[in-house]
């Protein structure tokens, strides 16, 4: 594979590139290094507002790194270094003076393994609101929690045990609690890093339904290893792969249907038909 193929891929993006106001977030020649190792190279990615975008690709191709670069979670890794720009509301989040805490408040995250806080279900959601300056009364907080849990399709299951530990829930419920926790702080974008990889098929289905619901109000970016999931749930798909020096690059990006039925690149076709990866 050579660089010219990669450049073709960015040219092909024009199919989905619309005017700027439809973009929730844009990566411009994004590079991430771990020490001296270049993990992702020159990623150009414009994410559509209130759509679900899936990032797929073989293991180690840097999908998660791209995802975590979008809300500066990579800052928490001491050796990680990012160059290029990520534009959010026209503002480069890596610019001097931008507070990563503010970025992460506006761009929430759900992780691979369900990780509710070892607190009550109520506290799990209330905490995010409190730290972000929620000033309402107790009853307003109760309303917020009910609304959030309803949005996360969890209210009916937990309404009678809000004071139980979040850890007492099943894996799928825990993951929906994590999603509820993320939307409680009213972010613009929710990043999901393989949110279903630790869940059974039925829980996975519930989360996917929930994602479809949430995409009416939120922009969702999901990393997944499961191509059926990407095909089922996402509006747009970005396919990443590795170059010879093991740097991850964006190979192809387009409307999910088109990418799965009529991929422009040979390597994309090989991957989605299961010939490698």
């Amino acid at each position: 594979m050579n660089l010219s193929v990669h450049l073709d891929a960015t040219v092909n993006q024009t199919i989905v590139t619309e005017t700027n106001e439809f973009h929730a977030i844009e990566a411009k020649s994004l590079n991430v290094f771990y020490g001296d190792f270049l993990a992702i190279r020159d990623v150009e990615l414009d994410i559509q507002k209130q759509k679900i975008t899936a990032l797929i690709g073989p293991s180690g191709c840097g999908k998660s790194t791209v995802l975590r670069a979008l809300n500066r979670m990579n800052d928490l890794i001491p050796i990680a270094r990012t160059t290029g720009e990520v534009l959010f509301h026209g503002q480069n989040i890596y610019a001097e003076g931008v507070d990563p805490v503010e970025v992460r408040k506006r761009i929430g995250m759900v992780f691979q393994k369900p990780n509710p806080f070892p607190k009550t279900i109520y506290e799990n959601i209330a905490w995010g609101a409190k730290i972000n300056g929620f000033k309402g009364s107790k009853s307003e907080m109760d309303d917020l929690i009910e609304r959030t849990l309803r949005d996360a399709a969890l209210w009916e299951e937990v309404k009678d045990k809000l004071q139980d530990s979040g850890l007492s829930l099943s894996g799928g419920q825990q993951q929906r609690l994590c999603i509820a926790r993320a939307i409680a702080v009213r972010p613009d974008i929710i990043l999901m890093d393989e949110p279903c990889s630790a869940l059974d098929p039925i829980s996975t289905l519930k989360i996917e339904e929930l994602m479809r619901d949430l995409s009416k109000n939120y922009t969702i970016i999901i990393v997944t290893h499961n191509m059926q999931q990407a095909a089922r749930v996402s509006d747009f798909t970005a396919f990443f792969t590795l170059t010879e020096d093991r740097a991850g690059v964006l190979m192809e990006y387009g409307i999910t249907n088109q990418l799965f039925t009529n991929p422009k690149q040979k390597i994309t076709e090989d991957y989605i038909t299961g010939r490698f990866g």
């Binding site: 928490l76 001491p78 805490v101 992460r104 408040k105 929430g108 995250m109 806080f117 730290i131 972000n132």
Partner: protein, 429 residues
Amino acid sequence: MTNSPSNPRNFSSPNDDDLTRKDSLFKDNLAQRHRRGIVWKVIFQISTVIGIIALSTLLIKILNDTMGYAAIEYKKDPSTISSSGLPLDEMTCSELRVILAENVTKNRLRTIEREKPMVERSQSECLDLVISEVAEPTVKKTWPLFASLFNYEEIQSIAAEEYPGGDLIFKVWLSRAFILSPQSDDPLKAGIRTAILGSIYIIIIVIIFAFPIGVAAAVYLEEYASQSRINQIIQTNINNLAGVPSIIYGMLGLALFVRYLEPLTSGAIFGSADPTTANGRTILSAGLTLALLILPVVIINGQESIRAVPNSLRQASYGMGATKWQTVWSHVLPNALPGILTGTILAVSRAFGETAPLVVVGAATFITFDPEGIFSKFTSVPIQIYQWTARPQDAFRNIAAAAIIVLLVLLLLLNAAAVFLRNRYSRRW
């Protein structure tokens, strides 16, 4: 093919059997592997048994000294004290008071009345008072518990021969009176109250200083410090300090707290210096020295507890837009707290049993009054034990054993508190 469970070799199919039998690269060594396992199991069991034997020997040895027969001689025979001929133990308290007034000086009587008026004392208290004040018993010889139980006749004949005027009584050295009495020159009167109070004061100072400083340092090193050269040097030094012998800390405490910071540790700058001590050898110095001693242990333990908090919790917190401080305060510390508390209590119980640094810092070996505050002279339970075991008389060995039991019980209480906290607050994630 026979497939009886009693012969496991026949579990494999005939074909497999052929394969393994013909393959000369594998030899049939299952029996040998099992034998080796049994040998190691026996070695582990023997080690455990040796440990248990050593501990029980220690406990039995100590218990053996805490009670037994004691030969006691009196300066004045109790049976001749009473002028009326009535036995002492049938007299009322007021009658005993008359006897006391006849036999001791006015000053002494006034002191006794000031401690607790005679009218408020029970008959047995009055009796004990008369015996100790008038008859003035001294312990001549003591026998340990097992000898007392099994060789009573022999002990009786020795006592009758060597101390013809004396009494042979069965004395339980670890008693309520022992725990509640202050230090004394006479093993019959000596108690451990001043030492227990001293130890408690010291431990409170240790907790006040070592816990917040240790936890704060642990949080800094784990959550804030970068992997820079200087931080690595600090980390290495803390690890090494945890292994420095305690007497070195005693010398540091002597130089720093007792001598250099004397105005502070003696209370002089607060205007509350104890005129009888008027130097830095105070409870405050001792507490600060022991706090320094356990600080590295508290820090290292705190770091380990903080490191054990799963990273996924921190990520979840940051992912919601929490600052570092909010993450540490709301998630890291609450989840690390059971481990931090357990480790701190264990470190404190180590400080509780420390003797060497306190000897260097200048524990008073003979104080009969309770400490009044952090600027008082001090002694502690281990210091008292050390002191008593160094005395030549038999009876001091017995009260040392009693004091050891007191120390062990206090340490057990501390460790039980640690176990309780660990079980009460430990969480799953």
